[in-house]
Amino acid sequence: MNNNDKLIIGGHEFNSRFILGSGKYSLRLIEAAVKDAGAEIITLAVRRANTKERENILDFIPKGVTLLPNTSGARNAEEAVRIARLARELGCGDFVKIEVMRDSKYLLPDNQETVRATEILAKEGFVVMPYMYPDLNTARDLMNAGAATVMPLASPIGSNKGLATKEFIQILIDEIDLPIIVDAGIGRPSQACEAMEMGAAAVMANTALATAGELSMMAAAFRQAIEAGRKAYLSGLGRVLTRGASASDPLTGFLRD
């Protein structure tokens, strides 16, 4: 792969386009994500990092890996802002993934509150990566609010249902001048590959790995799928016939000048 093909988020460069999501946490999962999937960014829920000595989860994070604390548990913008500030105090750096959820059943993000939190935190110098429901207007608002990326969900978190929102993610990729990172719902490497072919800048996954039979093999599969999808995107996808056959005689063949 082209060595100059870097993922750039808020001025920081990354070689890997796989990001480990939070949620299901274990030392084995982090090891596999770094070693086998090549992850350079690992998400960590601040609420999980908020532990005492017995299991200081920050100790699990290998050196050289960028920590992406998220604000899970926040029910509105104010709570997200407070959690982000706490992450900074805990020594988690300036990256923050905004998650604002007002729904405990599907854990769908609240776009409006997410825009508000992004605005506040971007002003405070955070590299803000907002998790959102793929809506073009919200994505534009997030960009204007100072987001470093936009992270649309592929399908409900933990569902492993893949790119249920594909058409809308494609619109974001086409219209938004920020890296679009597909987050939540990616259940298989083939789905990650598809997102990358579409032009996504990176893919985030957790449950798909955490619940796999062979953790490290699945991690490696994700790495390969993401690399394959990225290569396909960079090479320019060939003609894809989506419907019917193509006319061998062009309809516009009659035009003379």
Partner: protein, 417 residues
Amino acid sequence: MENNFFIDSEYLSEEALEKKHRLETDPSSRKNHMEYLPGMEKIESDVCENVMAHMKSYDYGKYTPEDVKAALEHENCTVEDFKALLSPAAEPFLEQMAQRARTETGKHFGNTVYMFTPLYIANYCENYCVYCGFNCYNHIKRMKLTYEQIEKEMKIIAESGMEEILILTGESRSQSSVKYIGEACKLARKYFRMVGLEIYPVNTDEYKYLHECGADYVTVFQETYDSDKYEQLHLLGHKRVWPYRFDAQERALRGGMRGVAFSALLGLSDFRKDALASALHVYFLQRKYPYAEMSLSCPRLRPIINNDKINPLDVHEKQLCQILCAYRIFLPFVGITVSSRESAEFRNGIVKIAATKVSAGVSTGIGDHEAKYSGKESDGMSGDEQFEIDDGRSLDKMYKDIENEGLQPVLNDYLYV
């Protein structure tokens, strides 16, 4: 078969005994259990009505193996599917239900199992609930911890590594006032990341106060959702008021609590109807308060001091497992807590299927953590237990056992904001 709950203590005066017997035998001597007492807040809500309509019409005998198979095939479990899964027709499908439950648990919780411990700070009680060790006619050693004693207990528990605590009291407003409980919450915030409460139901403004003191999760067991049966088991005291108890979780959420927990005490009444009502209580409240976190418990009746014969009757481990699998399939996003009332073997097995939270290092007595945790001789200054526990594992032992099952023990996943 029925439990015999009526035990006369030799320490009761003749007058007290006479009143006790009258309450037990003459329904007209008891207060109306559907009528609010002065000071009890009444909120407008249709949740109870919805739950009761389903419970009353639930005829679990009508479900067939085909209904159960269909329920297991559906991607989303409907209320009707859930009713089939709770029915006797589902009993032969327990293994399939467990497989499905495990998949759902994995999707929502991964391999994590949360841990907590209860801390009883007082066992005074003004109610006569016939199955409970704390009931006001039961002759037990009563105690209420001072703030110094509470802090001492908390320190000992915190030193064991525990980060989540559930504060409990007997149901006595006069002995364990809201202010007293609030002070305990403030102390708990110093030593723990997560503070839950299991106390008598209170009004919205009192929940708000307790939330401001640091509590963020409220557990109220309805005991039984069959209000007629409830009336026969809760003979005296404010706990007798069934509808005020039903609305407790809703008041707690209105008071600002992050989450609420629910349960029936299995073995008191028709367990299939109680399980249905418990889950629907969650279901309807979640629709109304979608941001709230919710969890279900599944306590079965246990022996108490002075009555070691109490048992959960027809709710055997298989039935309990069926209920928990059905809960998980119907409400995949809710927490499920399994307490130390159950054996170590059962808890080790059920965390692999449906449960997401277990207690460890448990005492249901008052002020005895030092003796229990360090093996130090008790100074005799402790209060008696609410019920006998089964699984006495310490935090360390539990932590290791969970890891050995291939799961990830989690001491905290919570932030007070």
